[in-house]
């Protein structure tokens, strides 16, 4: 084996090493498991029937948090969540800059890396529940259906508890 053929072999090996994650990502599948799903309580925000004169107030909100694991070898992406607990449900990110808190919808969804996980937690990612259909008291539970880019849908039982 001369130097040139060694070199060619090494290039091949190195290129293979570079390409390996991408190839795995392309050929494999995501495998999603959701853990520790909870939402903060939202109590007493109903019942004024518009007496405040604003035709509905904005306080009927909560946020759901969880750990989304991907045991598969392809990344996936949480695109949306649905459920009858709220009129409007979005995947959001809270960002912080110099003490200024800002919240944005993640229009492109939230990536769940292959063989990894993403945690939705306070001051980070959350599933925002707007226009809640009922009070959420500690101990209550509700269902969310998560939709992923891979086409998978996962039903999650969310427990209401204080943070």
């Amino acid at each position: 084996m001369n130097v040139r053929s060694m070199f060619v072999a090494l290039v091949a090996v190195s290129l293979a090493a570079c390409a390996a994650p991408v190839q795995n990502a392309g050929s494999g599948q995501s495998e999603i498991v959701v853990k520790d799903a909870w939402a903060r309580p939202a109590i007493g925000m109903h019942g004024d029937g518009g007496h405040s004169g604003h035709g509905g107030h904005g306080g009927q909100v909560s946020a759901a948090y969880m750990v989304i694991e991907n045991k598969g070898d392809a990344p996936d992406r949480l695109l949306s969540a649905a459920g009858d607990v709220a009129g409007m449900i979005e995947v959001h990110q809270t960002t912080q800059k110099n003490g200024m808190m800002m919240m944005e919808e993640m229009k492109d969804g939230l990536e769940v890396p292959a063989n990894g996980s993403v945690e939705l937690k306070p001051a980070g990612y959350h599933i925002m529940l707007m226009d809640l259909k009922r009070d959420l008291k500690p101990g209550d539970a509700f269902k969310l259906t998560l939709k992923f880019q891979s086409g998978k849908t996962i039903d999650v039982d969310v427990t209401v508890r204080e943070p």
């Binding site: 994650p21 904005g58 890396p113």
Partner: protein, 223 residues
């Protein structure tokens, strides 16, 4: 013969250097490629770094005596809060993530203080007067603790008030499909005022409860 040997060695050793160089580059490229493939993970998400302690306001800053509207729909001047230390947060009830967590923190501080927890005002001032009417505020703050106080005013007054705490808020453009679903970016510190209504400490979001409670205790002991 010797000459031929030298010639045949030199290209090899040069070739070896080139080989090493290319190998090095390839290793770098490989490492970089691997890093890149994990970059989304590295770059992912905000990583709030809670400061271990509060920030002391070097010169006690007197806060102007604004008259606001309380969650019981009464006009209340900030001077009314004097006589007790005050823990103060700005927020809005439509805020699902950070604001309620700050409110839970206030409640935990109160719990941590035990009986002395009653000798402190806990105040939530809205940055969203449009949606946070006194009635909405009442249901919001009392859900955390019956003793908590909610305050609102007109937007201009609230802007001046938060500015005295070096803070700002900015209503974000409402989404076209739901004009009521706008969010308000805002400064989200917790402020500690003394019994004379002077701003003394500020705490970033996520500051451990016991640190805030300790400062309040020290203030109660000193007053």
């Amino acid at each position: 013969m010797l000459k031929r040997n030298a010639r045949s060695v030199r290209p090899q050793s040069e070739g070896f250097k080139v080989f090493l160089g290319i190998l090095g580059s390839l290793v770098l490229i490989t490492v970089f490629g691997l890093l890149l493939s994990y970059a989304p993970e590295l770059a992912r998400g905000p990583s709030p770094t809670p400061t271990p302690g509060g920030v002391a306001i070097s010169k006690y800053r007197a806060i102007s005596n604004y008259t606001l509207v309380s969650h019981t729909n009464q006009r209340v001047s900030l001077a009314h809060l004097r006589g007790k230390p005050t823990l103060l947060v700005f927020g809005y009830t439509f805020c699902p993530d950070v604001c309620p967590l700050s409110m839970y923190d206030l409640r935990r501080v109160k719990q941590a203080l035990g009986e002395a927890g009653d000798d402190v005002n806990y105040v939530f001032i809205t940055v969203d007067p449009e949606r946070d009417t006194p009635d909405v505020l009442r249901r919001y703050v009392t859900a955390f603790d019956p003793a908590f106080i909610g305050l609102t005013s007109d937007e201009a007054t609230l802007r001046k008030l938060i500015y005295e705490f070096d803070g700002v808020f900015e209503k974000q453009p409402p989404k076209s499909d739901n004009p009521k679903s706008y969010v308000v970016a805002h400064t989200s510190f917790t402020y500690l005022l003394d019994a004379e209504g002077r701003w003394r400490m500020m705490y970033s979001f996520g500051t451990p409860i016991d640190i805030i409670a300790r400062d309040v205790q020290a203030m109660l002991a000193g007053s």
